[in-house]
Symmetry: none
Subunit: 535 residues, 2 copies
Amino acid sequence: MPKDRVYLFDTTLRDGAQTQGVDFSVEDKRVIARALDRLGVAYIEGGWPGANPTDSEFFTAKPALKRAKFVAFGMTKRPGRSAENDPGLAQILNASADAACLVGKSSEYQVGIALGISLNENLELISDSIAAAHKKFGEAMFDAEHFFDGYKANPKFTFDCLKAALDAGARWAVLCDTNGGTMPWEVERIVGEVVQKLGDGSRLGVHTHNDTENAVANTLAAVKAGVRQVQGTLNGLGERCGNANLIALIPSLMLKPWFAENIDVGLSEQDLTHLTATSRTLDELLNRAPNRHAAYVGAAAFAHKGGLHVSAVMKDPRTYEHVPPETVGNKRHILMSDQAGRSNLLVRLTEAGITYDTADSRLNALLDDVKQRESEGYSYDGAEASFEVLARRALGQMPEYFRIRSFRVQVERRFNAKAELVTISEATVKLDVDGQTLFSVAEGNGPVNALDHAIRKDLGRYQSYIDDLRLVDFKVRILNGGTEATTRVMIESADGQGNRWFTVGVSPNIIDAAFMALMDSIQWKLLRDGAQPSK
Amino acid sequence: MPKDRVYLFDTTLRDGAQTQGVDFSVEDKRVIARALDRLGVAYIEGGWPGANPTDSEFFTAKPALKRAKFVAFGMTKRPGRSAENDPGLAQILNASADAACLVGKSSEYQVGIALGISLNENLELISDSIAAAHKKFGEAMFDAEHFFDGYKANPKFTFDCLKAALDAGARWAVLCDTNGGTMPWEVERIVGEVVQKLGDGSRLGVHTHNDTENAVANTLAAVKAGVRQVQGTLNGLGERCGNANLIALIPSLMLKPWFAENIDVGLSEQDLTHLTATSRTLDELLNRAPNRHAAYVGAAAFAHKGGLHVSAVMKDPRTYEHVPPETVGNKRHILMSDQAGRSNLLVRLTEAGITYDTADSRLNALLDDVKQRESEGYSYDGAEASFEVLARRALGQMPEYFRIRSFRVQVERRFNAKAELVTISEATVKLDVDGQTLFSVAEGNGPVNALDHAIRKDLGRYQSYIDDLRLVDFKVRILNGGTEATTRVMIESADGQGNRWFTVGVSPNIIDAAFMALMDSIQWKLLRDGAQPSK
């Protein structure tokens, strides 16, 4: 039986842009649109032309798309105006786009509270606006705001709103759970009723929000009940608790029972392997640390910790993995933990690309060292680069690039020449490369920053390797409480090639702990890029 | 019709402890157990006695619980041993607990791959182990690992495993979606079949994982289909993509259609208002920034950004809110009018015991200052002592005790006389008391510790007031990511009279931020103890 086509509609650039703290530039929007087009979604909603300067400019500077249609969002016309004479609607109709998506009320309660017009007038607004958009673009969509809440209270009126849009030529009528409070079993029931009334769901879409953590489930329930367009955002971006997360939806729609047999979302198996990279691209643009626990694409999504799990996964990954990680472009991770046995260690070494002889007695010393360090507060679960540096050093596989002889960090708060109270952070580092001693001194806006600047100011012939190294996150945890407690510093680093790695340092002294993590980060980068050892 | 009781089973301290990067101390576990007990869950799974030193110690040091039962987790006995002669099982049976929850295989595939025994032998393992636990505790539970995957492949054998546990006396048989790959519609179908075979679901539980972002929906589907125990964790903590999130489940189970009418989870409306605080307690312990977008409890969960939304919400919050935020202890966030901000401020001043004249123009300056500081990252909600110092200073009610003229902190890592690599932290402070300048220098095991020692080494005639001041906790959070980001330091102080107070400092420089928080702490203590101002 041929599969039904389900159309993916991305609204990262419109509804996702409503997220608190998110502020896309035009260039950001271009990068995201290209990534979405490569992934293979059917529609990209670019924004609301006329609502703000960024969106207006983006519609004049959108990138060339190979697969996706480009959609302009807007509102149905205002009451008391014709569609031709509504300046807001005109901006959408005049936008350079392949289709328009217009949002309007479909709930009796909202029409009364927010618009204060009659129900019939609301049907006219929808009908006239959709007809105008259909005439202009050939493809119009109607976002039925508050559809589910409206339907629960007055199913007839809410259904009439959908019908008005469809009868006026809308390709799609989209059922919105605007407030995000609807339960999956309600979605299933209501969509089922609407599909039955219309004969099928081939012109219905669904748009959900995550206010009860059910946005993905609500979307899946709607698809199973018949809708054939799915709206969502990358990584579930969106106001309040976010929109339905396309990154979690796409693999379930492609790989899971019933969906895999009955529908086709238009992505190939090869396209699906871009999923993890697409998710990370958005985080990169937002300068956010990716969510390690994200479904399918998180760094921990295929991580295995307990010893029993690990030995089973080694026998057959299906024992503890619901899909193969490589199908979505992700990777398996075997973690070290305080219960780490020798077999865990060997797996980890192999995963890190480290070769070893199982008879090598240094393996046992390494295992003891890892256990000892973890009891002191090191956490190699989250700091694979530090683990690799430690392991290679224990096994005689870590080149010595440079050696820090000493450092000094000074923070001083005093009055400057203008009698202003200022705080100055300065670091001095003395290090050896190829038998030569190099001195560096640098300032920073804090002691760790100054130390980072000083270490990286002059690494001699290694300098070119670390020019593109950036510290993207820095986390401090006090392990025992009190200023005399042990401090753990975790550093996340990135380079110009899109690599990200994590390192850890532990010490009663926060500067010392940060220093250790910084050193591991630099040495891991030199190792990965194949720098030659110091002479 | 009386409602069915649904029992909440929290496994934050056991399955949640498997999370990458999470490493609970015994004291952490005690704090979390108390918070769970106050919230009102029915069961708290404390850990796996014998699996690691932390869990073993926690079972000897668990806090007194008022409402929840305390559960020990473990595995069914190993093949080839009797339940009496299995040392692993013995550790669980000897643990101080109200019930035991034993995990065992319930999938033909897993029995073959992981255990390599016959299906009948597996049924015996379950039966013998559960019988032993039932005999010891009076309440035994069976976690049917890989239940859903097993049932899809061989429903008869998987059901037989459940039956073996129930027939051996298990109060609960828990249906686990161990790999997290099952879709909600599959959960609904499979649970429906099992409930039908058993007659009802009064002895069934459900345990889901979030690998497809459906853990909450899968749990809700299982409850609707008849299970009466729900396992999950605070904030969805757990390995890979996490467990079902109790923080999102509880309000849906209490407030949403069908659930509100048909089941009772054992929490009162008053208990539910602790939800947000409980979620934040866990983040606080893990030193994680709370997820602003978390369902129900996120800071953005009831935030309204768009102008249209805000004006509708002002007319009636139900227009864009699916539940009232205060039911879960959360708050609505709208860009506050100055009037609203001002009334908030007056409430806080009164709460701090500060008197004021409402006509005092300094109140507006204070309001602007607080808003500005909060936008920079200060959080006065958690640092009332810093708020009091700031407010009293703005209103001319803060005596000047001493004035810091300058300080210098130095951290040096070098080889000492014995050729050992050492790190030395030293701080120098210059301060004025009664017109006299006092110099102090002190060492510490880190820069903040050295600074603290130096400031408190000689405060002249104020010395006696601070002799009993102790820093009991010190938390650092990086607000924007990267070493160049802003740092917030929160300090918790205590004195010999049992007082505890919190202060905050924010700066790009961690030493500066710590200094501000230290200064507020000392000054608040002098104020509270009625020290006389400097002359």
